[in-house]
């Protein structure tokens, strides 16, 4: 299938997804973004055209792929006539029904991964979750996903939202803790590098051991001396001390409940 795909959005996800779809033989006919820089950068990478005006979005694409921040969905989509073409969003949290008023052919294509423009990713291992408003559209999106990954599942909007929330904990919040660790180390002139083997092993451990069994550290041992000493040490970092305290309590409670 050599189809024309139009990307609405030119952020991290749009950048990676459009690139891999182009590599698999799909034609990216146009990129739209509210940001001229983002639109231009991505269009250049794909050697295609771009626009920052919704009224200049071509109506000859076969599929419109929405990779916008959820908050601007309606503002952007309400300005476009999709002529009943397949309209697909890539959001974990938005339900399929968010697209109902804009086309009769709608779907969701949710790749569960963290994308940064500067970093290459291997799509083959990324799970993609599909939902659509008809068997035809579902089959089409499954086939599309199978061109780029070995892991394709059908999942409804309610479950997908929980999947997204779980990903916020396991990725976004985790990365913030890496950032807090980096900041604490920097305050004592210790390079972040020393933590890298620990960070990798912590992730690799849960590939094999369920995370509740992999838990180590002062909180799960309920080592109150260390906990209060640590809280005292980082009292200048007020936010982080509060997080330290509430997460330690959460770990302790979680493991009390498991006993």
């Amino acid at each position: 299938m050599s189809l024309n795909l139009c990307f609405l959005g030119a952020g991290n996800l749009a950048t990676h997804l459009s690139k891999v779809l182009q590599e698999r033989g799909f034609h990216i006919s146009q990129v739209y973004s509210r940001s001229e820089k983002s639109a231009k950068d991505l269009a250049q990478k794909l050697d295609t055209s771009y626009t920052t005006f919704t009224n200049q979005i071509n109506n000859d694409a076969d599929v419109y792929i929405v990779a916008l921040k959820d908050a601007v969905f309606d503002e952007v989509l309400s300005q476009i006539d999709f002529r009943n073409k397949l309209l697909v969003h890539c959001s974990g949290s938005m339900p399929l029904s968010a697209l109902t008023e804009y086309s009769g052919n709608i779907g969701v294509f949710y790749p569960l991964q963290t994308f940064s423009k500067s970093r290459e990713v291997d799509f083959k291992s990324i799970p993609v979750f599909i939902e659509a408003n008809s068997k035809n559209n579902e089959d089409f999106l499954v086939e599309l996903a199978q061109k780029i990954t070995d892991s394709v599942s059908i999942m409804n909007s309610e479950k997908r939202k929980f999947l997204h929330i779980s990903a916020v904990f396991a990725c976004n919040f985790v990365n913030h803790f890496y950032a807090i660790a980096a900041e604490l180390l920097k305050s004592k002139d210790i390079p972040f590098d020393v933590l890298k083997p620990l960070i990798l092993e912590t992730a690799q451990k849960v590939m094999e051991i369920p995370p509740q069994e992999a838990q180590t550290g002062p909180a799960v041992r309920f080592d109150e001396n260390i906990i209060s000493d640590h809280l005292n040490e980082i009292s200048d970092f007020k936010n982080y001390a509060e997080l330290y305290n509430s997460i330690s309590k959460s770990i302790f409670e979680h493991h009390q409940n498991l006993k």
Copy 2:
């Protein structure tokens, strides 16, 4: 050097450290633990003797390695006559001076890693941080560490404590969030496996990109709709909703400060 090492403690760290030291040619002469099962299990693995009584700890070891929970240090050590032998602890948070009253030759040997008994680790890449009360003892411990790892540094007690706090964020708290994610998924019958590529990539990203630049997700985009929707979805998991809220705020503030 074929020295006699006595291990005080038979937990996760003692299990892995004694094993690798034995593999490098050191003789583990005895294992002490307050728990008979732990002492016996480890002694069997090492083919050595064990005791659960402090008054049966042999006084012919060359080095005593303390891998006990910090909270019981004094209770255990005060019952033993170390005859001025080298006494070393493996704690991130305890200062070197915690050993002063028990021997005239003291040191710290702190391997920065998360250890679970059921999982093999490759010591070669684990950073070990050394501190001692004399150049001689420091040199000895550096040499000991170099037998098992390529990454040996000298670090004082104050810095080591901050390193430990950072590790609590980057490992223990991170793992707890894997556990929260697993629990949220389980409530919707979604297997934890779907998160594994995301967890690995989140860790691998910060091997190359500083974590503050790697941050993605609703909080750093300040996508309020998603955040309030997520909070509403997990309101039955009261603790987790509170953590979600406070960490999202922390991410937002952290990135406002960077601008």
